[in-house]
Amino acid sequence: MSAQLAQYLLSGITIGAIYALVALGFSIIFNASHVINFAQGEFVMIGGMTTVSLAGTGLPVPAAMVAAVLLSALVGLALEKFAVEPARGAPVVTLVIITIGASILLRGIAALVWDKKLHTLAPFSGNTPIEVAGAALLPQSLWVVGVTLAIVLALSWFFGRTLLGKAMLATSTQRTAAQLVGINVRRVLFVSFGLSAGLGAVAGILITPITLTSWDVGVMLGLKGFAAAVLGGLGSGPGAVLGGVLLGVAESLSAGYVSSAYKDVIAFVLMLAMLFFMPTGILGSRAAERV
């Protein structure tokens, strides 16, 4: 394998892992509520920015990270309680506007509470690149991929083995049936938002040493993570990961071999193609909302 190709693949997988984490957040919420949470990208932003600002006040970085994840989860819970729940049963358009409004609100608050500059975190284990097949891999990328895998495994254990997790799965498959067997659907919804928000924050913390963070870092990441979720199949955990990695690698390869100018378009073209031909995505459930 040529060193060039190796480099493209490695950077594609790194960025793909980031997209995967964001996509996971989308999928969990979609699973529980059939709501696309357009504010998912802002959770990523909150994770990174909170860690940076807390670490700046002298708090040890690991503590700052935990605090950031907790804060983000709280924001997610608040979003569900005060914005999504009152609008339960509303048409899709209404829910879309609510979550988009939430993302604008969160960004506005972030710009006020923090600042409009870019920030970074020190990489977890140094900056010396590791040579792999002639390409240079940053240690931080290993962290990103590693933690993503760990999270996917943890989530599959959670959904497969714990009662709450199984309840969440049941709700996503058939809400009414879940209610009939006594599952508190409202609580499932509540938890799913908190969980997604926490995940988003973890993604934000992991990638800040590589891609920097700022008050509006969530916009593009949110959109791309979204495209990745659609690619892999909305509502499917493995699908989110697959979609993320595919998207990242596709972007990297097209930037390397085709044209770097249109790299950003790749994500959306792929998403559109998927929606036209296989709306449920590669690993999504076969039930589609099509006429």
Binding site: I98, G101, D264, V269, L275
Partner: protein, 316 residues
Amino acid sequence: MISWLSSPRRGGLLALLAVIAALPLALPNNYFYEVAILVGLNAIVCVGLNLLIGYAGQISLGHAGFFGLGAYGSAILSTRFDWPPLVSIAAATLGVGAIAYLIGRPILRLKGHYLAMATLGMGVIVSIVAATEDRWTGGPDGMPVKPLGVLGATISGEGTWYWVVGALLLAAVWLSLNLVESPTGRALRALSASEVAAEVSGIDSARQKVRVFVISALFAAVAGSLTAHYSGFITPSKLSFFHSIEFVTMVVFGGMASTYGAVVGAAVLTTLPQLLTVFRDYEMVVFGAVMMGTMIFMPKGLVPSLGELAARKDPR
């Protein structure tokens, strides 16, 4: 007399005409005229978008794409190819209509969130292309646009533009009201209530959906090209995802399935940023809060909610 006036078509149009005619008395300078013109242009887009979202029950998160394609189309044809501006506007509008027709069929087979995502994707792709193809579009910094000339005379000056936009808005509202009360309109409403039931009654839902999609795209394209010629300048931010959201918010805020609601929504949300300048740093926060608040507490939108309040007070 009252019943004649209270029919939305006649009474409402007259009221709108009265407002448009009388407003200049309250506009002290060109700045106010400019805001009024922008309100009118946004209202045209919203009236069209409302047909799609409110009456047909679909969703589009990429309508700024049609707006922008109309704007850039007319800008490029008139400024780079020296076509007469009126012809450019017509050509750009028809071109956008054709594009809407071509993508309408495949895209409208999707529903709900999938449709939202697809339209979002389209919008983003168009905006990236506009920002990248700088040879044609001038890139992210945009390009200047020739002013609008009709039969040799240039339309310039806020006053003239005001009447042009006002007349077009009246035309757009009239068209929309007519459509709503026509068989197509009834078909759309049936469609939005239940697509399956509509199909069973013999409505070709796919065709109707594409039809209203194209109409709303045409409205957006006309407004877009006029905006380009009015401002004398066009940038890719007019095609952005955020701009699409602004349009959808205007429609939903004013009231879905209400043509006048779309106009009111456009009016309120276009003037809001001007009023919010007092808040300087808090603009985004307030805007986001308004979006969320309206949807949570007034999900039907402003005009229908007010209508409900009025009806409750007057139980006839």
